[in-house]
Every structure is written in C-alpha cells, then in structure tokens.
C-alpha cells in the first residue's frame, strides 16, 4: 500500500458518486464529504442543480466568454467530449443563462455513464456476468480461496487438494 496510485480516474468516479448523492440516486456517505475538497464538490454540484432549476440564478456572461467556451470544447479530446458538434450548436444558438448551465451540466451527466459504462451494467437491466470454470490449479488463486475460507468457511471444507489426481 505504499505506491502512489494514478488517482485521476478514481477521483472522477468519486465525483460522479457525489453527483448521484446530490440527485438522491444513491445512499449518501456523508463522512466522505467532510473534507475541504468534499465540501467544495458538494457545493458546486448543488449550485449546478440550482442554476438548472432557476435560470434567474445564472450570470449572463459576455459573448467573448461563449466564444472561449466554444473554442475550448472544440479543442477537447474526443474521448471525453461526448459530441462536440451538438454542444457547439447548443452553446452558439442559445444565449440564455440556462443554456450555459446545461452545457456545464451536460459534461457531468454525460461523463457519468462514461465512467461507469465499461463493465458495470445498471442493476435495472441485468446482464449476467459469466465466469469460466477453473480447476484453480493456479497456486496464487488457491491462496486467495484459502484466505477467504479461513475467515468464512461456514459452508465449505478446507481447500487443499485440487482434483488433478497428482497432475499438479
């Protein structure tokens, strides 16, 4: 546990969870928010929500700001930007404050499926995970099974010999 992890992905995944807490879509883990960073994220996501609900709260920026946002979106790498074309259209053609909030929010909403999509199917549409049958001849795997069963061996008998009849 000494190595410093590549934390960007996990951090963004956590921010996505904060977003779902704000929306009431997941059980909140309040203890995680009790840090300066956590409080800041929490406030920011609420602000985005508030602005989306009441356009009066939005500041109307200058046209130069829109131009800069537009240019920045164009320059964004395609893998993160869900669809530069649609958003350019959105930012240029709608000049209300709501549209700005929507554009910011769309990064959040669209980013979320991106972070969770690769493997985890939503529970509403269960795609059953498939697992290949193993003989567990991999001694590394046997260690994990033994470690698991030493803590929780209620249903099982000790995992020692695999049925290779000596062919191990």
């Amino acid at each position: 546990m000494n190595a410093k992890p590549d934390s960007a992905l996990t951090e963004r995944a956590w921010e996505a969870s904060v977003s779902s807490w704000v929306d009431g879509e997941a059980d909140i883990r309040s203890e995680e928010l009790d840090t300066p960073y956590g409080r800041q994220i929490w406030d920011t996501y609420h602000l985005i929500g508030d602005v989306m609900r009441s356009p009066d709260l939005a500041i109307r920026p200058t046209d130069r700001f829109y131009a800069r946002v537009s240019a920045a979106l164009d320059a964004e790498p395609a893998i993160v930007a869900p669809s530069p074309l649609i958003r350019r259209h959105l930012v240029r053609n709608s000049l209300s404050g709501l549209a700005v909030a929507a554009a910011v929010a769309s990064v959040v909403w669209m980013a979320r499926p991106f972070f969770f999509a690769p493997d985890a199917p939503p529970s509403a549409a269960p795609v059953m995970a498939q697992a290949a049958e193993t003989d567990a001849t991999d001694p590394g795997l046997a260690d994990y099974m033994a470690a698991h069963q030493s803590m929780a061996g209620a249903g099982a008998v000790r995992q020692v010999s695999y049925d290779g009849m000596g062919a191990r």
Partner: protein
C-alpha cells in the same frame, strides 16, 4: 403448600413454558432453527467422513469434533491428495503439512461444515425464505429433515439442507443457483455420535518432532481510513478487515462481508508488475465460489465469494479509492 414448593412449581412451570416457546419458535422462525443447527455443530460429539463436491473437485475429510472440559476440540484430516491435518482448539488451529514437515499455526476464525451460520445471522430472514419440506431423507444412515433457504434475489445462492431428526446436526448441504441448479454440495458419508466415537480419535497419527513451526498472523486493518470505499451488495455487512501475508513480501488487505450464510472477501494489494503482469482480469468460478479480479489504478482487487458471478463482479466494480481521504 410450603413456600419453597410453590416457588419450585412456579419455576418449573416457567421452564416448561419457555421450553415450549423455544420449540415452537424453532418451527416458525428460520433464525431459531438455524441457531439450533449451529448449536448442534458446536456442542455435540461427532466423528465421521465428509465428502465435498465443488465444481470438478471431490474431496473427503475425516472429521472429529468433541467437547470436553477445555472446550471444543476438532481434528480434520484431508483424505485425498496431499496429506493435511488440522487440529483446532480454543480459537487456534494447527495445520500439519507432512510433505513439507511443517506445522502452520494460526487463529481459527470461523466455523465450517457442519456449522452453517456466519456470525449471528440476524438479517438472514430478510434475504432468505426458509421452508421445511414435509418429507425426510436419509444421509449417512441417519434420518434427516429437509429444509430450504431460498434466496429472495439473484445476488446470493439458495441452500437445501438436511438436518438430523434426533439431534439437528447438519448432515448434508447443497448450494443452488438462482435457476435452481446444483452448484456444490457437502455431506457426511458416515457419522458417529457420542460414545460411538473410538477413544483417541482426536490424536494425530503424525509424529511432528523436528518439524518446522510457522505462525501465521494477521493484523486488523482500517481500509476506509486508507481511502477505500465499498458498496456491499444488499444484506452483506463487513465482518472483518485485516492485513495478511500471502507470501514473502506479499502483503494483502482483506475485507470480509457476509449476509449470515454466504461470505465474500475483497483482497486489495499493490500491483506488482513482476508478479501480476500475467494475471487475467475478469471472472473465474469453482463450484459455488466465484472470483473476480481487476486492476484499479495501481492496485489489484480480487473478490472471492460463495455467491453468483454477477455479485462479485458488481462488488469489485463498485470499489472506489479516494487518495485524498487516505491519511
């Protein structure tokens, strides 16, 4: 009537009433029934051979369990493949590995067949429906009562068990997947009780003089304080968190979750390119045990549990690491 006689009668009546209540409760309440089965596994003297079928593996074990003035004592001798024998007493166990002339000593953390419960099992009724079938079966020459613990969702397996009609000891347990197919089973093929057990059954037949003794220890860990966040499947609660040595210089953190019957371990370790480069990510299965391995940032996660593949998959994918929360 003298006062002491009245008091005695009253006490007797109370005893009779609570006895009847307990017996009645065991009929209706799954937890009372399961605790009865658990108590039988812990308090009875029994000896026999158990056969365990897990996936393609078949393994027989000679099991002796006796309770004396010092508490529970148990000897478990694996009869197939490489010889191994484990002696358990007072929360410690010693496993003898004759081929390596080695004794491994470690704390004995949990019960195993014919025990059934993990922990108190207080939330079992929320996630399993218990039904006693109105037929009996015969296992290892003993009449037993069949009952089923049916999972209420697809996150866990269901169990069909047969318990001794006379003393409630679990004689056979089958694990069934959500489609009702058998995934693994364990049963006594021969069992003796009480005075039928030959004297000296607990004594090991190995002479361990000059064998090497290795003590395996684990330290309690606090994974949340290190920035790890888990989303346990509904009904699963953490029952242990520890750091253990898997091998020389190979420390692994382990979090154990249980719903009272099934358990899942999540192992977390630093990714080591030398050791882990060839490891395949994804799912593997052996009998009822499903394994899911994946890399998260510079860590390896391994989820292992007696649950369907989807459950370990989802649990592993829901793990989050918050570097800024780590102290």
């Amino acid at each position: 009537m003298p006062a002491w006689a009245r008091a005695g009668r009253r006490a007797g009546l109370c005893l009779a009433l609570s006895w009847a209540a307990a017996a009645g409760a065991a009929e209706a309440d799954p937890l009372a029934f399961l605790r009865q089965v658990q108590a039988a596994a812990r308090t009875l003297d029994y000896a026999g051979v158990t056969v365990y079928q897990q996936g393609r593996m078949l393994q027989s074990t000679h099991l002796v369990h006796q309770v004396d003035g010092t508490g529970e004592r148990e000897r478990q001798e694996v009869l197939d493949g490489a010889p191994q024998e484990c002696l358990r007493q007072n929360g410690m166990e010693q496993c003898l590995l004759p081929e390596r002339r080695l004794i491994v000593e470690r704390p004995a953390h949990s019960d195993h067949f014919p025990a059934l419960l993990l922990g108190e099992g207080a939330s079992i009724a929320k996630h399993y429906d218990w039904e006693r079938l109105d037929r009996t079966y015969r296992v290892a020459g003993r009449e037993c009562a069949i009952s089923e613990l049916r999972a209420r969702d697809a996150l866990r397996y269901s169990y069909r068990i047969c318990t001794d009609l006379k003393n409630h000891l679990l004689l056979k347990a089958q694990t069934l997947d959500p489609q009702g197919r058998l995934v693994d089973q364990v049963a006594f093929s021969r069992v003796q009780f009480g005075t039928e057990i030959p004297p000296g059954a607990l004594a090991s037949r190995w002479n361990t003089r000059d064998w090497q003794l290795r003590t395996e220890s684990s330290q309690p860990a606090n994974l949340a304080a290190r920035g790890w966040r888990f989303t346990p499947p509904p009904g699963f609660k953490p029952i242990a968190e520890l750091t253990r040595q898997m091998g020389p210089g190979h420390a692994v953190d382990q979090m154990v979750l249980s719903d009272g019957l099934a358990a899942i371990s999540i192992f977390i370790e630093t990714f080591d390119p030398k050791r882990d480069q060839s490891i395949r990510q994804g799912g593997l299965r052996q009998g009822a045990i499903n394994i899911y391995r994946m890399r998260l940032a510079s860590y390896w996660l391994t989820a292992v549990g007696e649950v369907p593949a989807q459950t370990v998959h989802d649990l592993a994918h829901a793990v989050q690491y918050l570097p800024q929360a780590a102290h």
